[in-house]
Symmetry: D2
């Protein structure tokens, strides 16, 4: 109820602050019998980990995850899986000089008013550091979905005004460059842009796309807990995300019905004997998966932690000028790629279990 | 868990199909002491009601809501409020000739695979008819929010390629035209567009904007249940919505941090002594309301129920041609305006109560 | 969150007051494909209905239940099932003279302080009248459990100091007498006791036993949501229940481990090849069903609505004498029998679905 | 949903097995501003800790709790509080020779059928070891309740056939003897009984009483989430508990209404100007606290881990004789005292927050 839990049947509760002792999570509802190891979770944690290229924050965190429970002899037992990541690099002195300032665009001002208490060290709970636990827990969800033949993957498709060319889309390429971009030809352009942004002490936004394959027809619930609604919530809950769209998304507002609809034809080569002639809907009809690929996009704003001076106030209500000096990402959208995958996986794992309940 | 409930502290559970006996809802968590009457709810139901202009379906429904419980002498008692709307116009014969066909773009195909049962009459539970109960329940939320000085309102700001001019925005105008458009100068253009669409047996999408005023600093929870995440889910749960954005939204992906941030200055005329110099964030920082206006937009796709013939399959997997003849809206985005208001109000009422819990 | 909902996967939300317009419920999570009719629910409603013998309140209620949704052609569709019972006999004038008095032993005093509002008509929401909806919803759960071979039944086994003889236990007899007692030989004794109690304007408590057969091994969750814990909550939530025990229950406090344990032996005639040599545990081990009969007992206090004058205060804090004159049951434990069955069925139906989730 | 979470607004999710690496918990919903330290939690952990007298298991566990998050400068921040206890004494070799046997009266058989997987080391998740985390989390609840003037305490009032004399009840005495008994005169009798039981390799049951003082009128929700219903669930969820009663409890079944009711009189020395002349109801009316002391009792069965040989089967369905040799408590009811306090505190803390929502 206090916001740190997601999922109903496959659920995750997280805890931990940017500069506290540790991050933790409890994953409830993973069925018994799934082979699982810490290494399964570490891979995505390493993809998300800061300090890996000059385009991400230089904070150094090993981000080693430890599984505390729910496993016996390498297999899940059906009981809750406890996860722990100790925080190692807690340079909170970086934050001493801004401890009374509200960083614009951050949650400092709203947390202060909500709780009357301020953990000024790197944003405390509001820091993107908490997404490490989303990625760790999402790793369990991914492992479970893989068991059922479902794959979740994401890519960065635009940064500022620079976009990939969808015709060159290559999933292999995503792991070959520090941007998770699926278009090798654009890597040098993204590099140039980020160098420029970094030199200006500025930051830049990004557009991400998530694709989910292998989902059978029938996942998602009617009315409020539609699969797309739950995915939208999960994506919007990621720090700095300001917009989410499914399939053709916002463009649907401009379309005519005659152009928009995805026609269906009999096709014996397909799973249910039906082929869709297009996928404008993004794989979800009436909130329920149609068996097509599920496609969604999210817009990540440029981080507000920039070196450019800006006007703000302090906790005493006095005007101040702020200039961030901490270790920050020029484009937080990059590291949001494994986070988006994790969030999508958590939603899908939950709905996979919910789908077991619809018939006698 | 089966999808028909939203909200935690202020919660709504709904039931009812397009052509079943009645629609129902139970609103739990409305505090005791709120003056409330059926008339309070009827106003928005009438705004949403079909058959009011030639631009909405000609189905005739009185949509009279009855309050079954939770009121004593005109005031809420704190116990659950039961709501009932009897379905009067159940012309299910309209659907006989398509009872074995999956309407493309509708939930027919996905419900069939999910439940193994088909209520072919107007989409059953997947019909937009269920939004009547969202509007009725949302009316209670609006009444409650009004008591606390919070106002939720929405408008249609684009239909297909035709957009309003934001400089002419006039909330008064919204109730003066059948499109809920805030720009009187565009009404004739919307009319022309819709006439054309209707004559072609086609449909068209729409863009809606919701504005929420009067929310104090501090509503919304950290991490997963951010106010924007819950709003995104609520909007995406509305039939035909394909994208949601907060504040500057999808455009954030293209921006630089130096342009994007909302600076703050001391201002003794403001509630908390602070003024923001812009509102790119849309009134939410770190998932928590900042005291600014909350702004969100949603894209509604063109309805797939059109008279243009399209390819589909039937429940036996045979190729078929379908051509909708029922009574449908050429632009479902119009009637989505009161629905979007209701959903936003439900989310805000829930978070208003949750905000009571953050401090000792 | 406001108390009127029970169950997670098979869940019921109810509304309605003793003397309001109607009682309502929404049952969410009943799987698609279950044959169901209003008659299926009416049977237990009739068993619970007041005014059927001289030993229950003379209030006249038809208690006709109407199914509003979730059914198509006599079969559940998987969508929420709305239930409605109109209140017909709303003689609230009976309560006018006590409208400012707190009835001792009732919820008048606590509701007044909780809500600051008082619906004095028969207790409003706190009246046992709300159990009609528990019975209606429980009827759906029973129907579902029957489909899976699970049967829930209950009986009254003691009233005041008068007890049945367990050696004469006969389930057939339960429906043959107005007390739901399984021992024909005790019917005349119960009759004599109740006549005496009624003539004295007094009331008497009762002891009920619930037996559930056909539950497979494995229903129930570890730690907090044990099957016995959920059953205890469900029973204790029934008006006037003051104690709940499973299997040998409270007597376990006095026992030695060597006498208490239920030994197991191989037995090829049994479902899982195992027979238990006793059932002191009441069919639940570690919170999970063992495949034996589940046995629980509940104590129902004598109703506090008696004709004997008692001391109380009014809403202005003045001393008063109260003497109930309304239509009340001399032993509310009798009509609690179908309510206990309904509550047990609701818990079991929920756990039946939860049990689908424990393995890959 | 998988059973390891309790509470709605003040909630606890736990993880951890008897012989796994660690126990963990996340406490969500503790309001910001509460002074809290690890020492606050350690006191009750030490009371529950095994190996402290010859009457509890000789397993050696330091049970040092670590707070991972949710605190800043000694005060709660309103964000989730992570708790960690590393398991130090994991002598799982004790369990090797019974790894294929189902211990009668334990959850071995039911977990096996539920999950198809067996963590045979000391019962895994079903071990009473998980109650350490209930006590740690309950410590936070107690701290919070103390801030509001509410005190939760418990005592052992009977062991087997030996009972305390309520006339000698002395809360001070509870911490002076190894049984948590409130009657100094009975300590030697309990000692004699336990010595005898231990020498026989047997075990014995116990009766516990919980008393909660300082709860204002108005905590608890109507219908299903009554305060007594939630307390009953919480108590019944404790390992080995077989019965729960509120106030006069099971005895209510035998009573007459004229004797049972708690009369009320005006009394200006009382909080709300009202005094109750008795407390048969146990401080709860209609599921809502009345302002009187809340009284409940629970029966704890004798542990089934005894040295007396008993018949059982193994996982291959073969008949076997089992004789427990591990380190076990002759009376698990003793260490259940701090657990019962913790569970009561968790329920009360949750309802304290829920009570904030009932009025405008």
């Amino acid at each position: 109820m206090a916001g740190s839990r997601i999922g109903h049947l496959f659920s995750v509760t997280t805890c931990g602050e940017s500069h506290g002792p540790a991050l933790g999570a409890i994953v409830e509802g993973c069925p018994a019998g799934l082979p699982l190891s810490e290494a399964d979770l570490q891979r995505d944690l390493d993809r998300r980990r800061p300090g890996q290229s000059r385009f991400t924050t230089q904070r150094q965190e090993a981000d080693r995850v430890r599984i505390l429970s729910g496993l016996f002899e390498g297999v899940t037992t059906g009981t809750p899986i406890g996860l722990l990541i100790e925080n190692s690099d807690q340079r909170s002195r970086d934050y001493r000089d801004i401890q009374h300032l509200f960083r614009p665009g951050h949650a400092d001002y709203t947390y202060w008013h909500k709780y009357g208490i301020r953990d000024y060290r790197g944003g405390g709970r509001s820091s993107a550091r908490e997404t490490a636990m989303r990625v760790a827990a999402g790793g369990i969800a991914k492992r479970l979905l893989a068991h059922w033949g479902v794959e979740v993957r994401a890519a960065l498709i635009a940064m500022g005004e620079v976009e990939i060319d969808r015709k060159r889309w290559d999933w292999q390429e995503v792991e070959n460059n520090p941007f998770f971009a699926p278009d090798a030809a654009m890597v040098s352009h993204f590099t140039t842009l980020l160098e420029e942004v970094r030199q200006q002490g500025d930051s830049v936004g990004a557009l991400l796309e998530v694709e989910i394959n292998g989902v059978p027809v029938g996942w998602g619930e009617p009315v409020f807990d539609r699969l797309d609604a739950d995915l939208a919530k999960a994506m919007m809950s990621i720090n700095a995300v300001k917009g989410v769209e499914i399939g053709d998304g916002m463009a649907a507002a401009r379309a005519r019905g005659s152009q928009w609809v995805d026609e269906m034809v009999a096709d014996s080569t397909q799973n249910n004997g039906v082929a869709f002639l297009s996928n404008r809907a993004g794989g979800i009809l009436g909130g329920i998966s149609s068996g097509q690929s599920i496609i969604l996009r999210l817009a990540v704003k440029p981080t507000s932690s920039i070196m450019v001076p800006r006007r703000t106030v302090d906790i005493h209500g006095q005007d101040q000028i702020i200039q961030t000096r901490g270790r920050h990402d020029p484009c937080v959208g990059i590291r949001a790629v494994p986070v988006a995958e994790a969030m999508a996986a958590l939603v899908l794992a939950d709905h996979a279990l919910r789908a077991r309940l619809s018939r006698l």
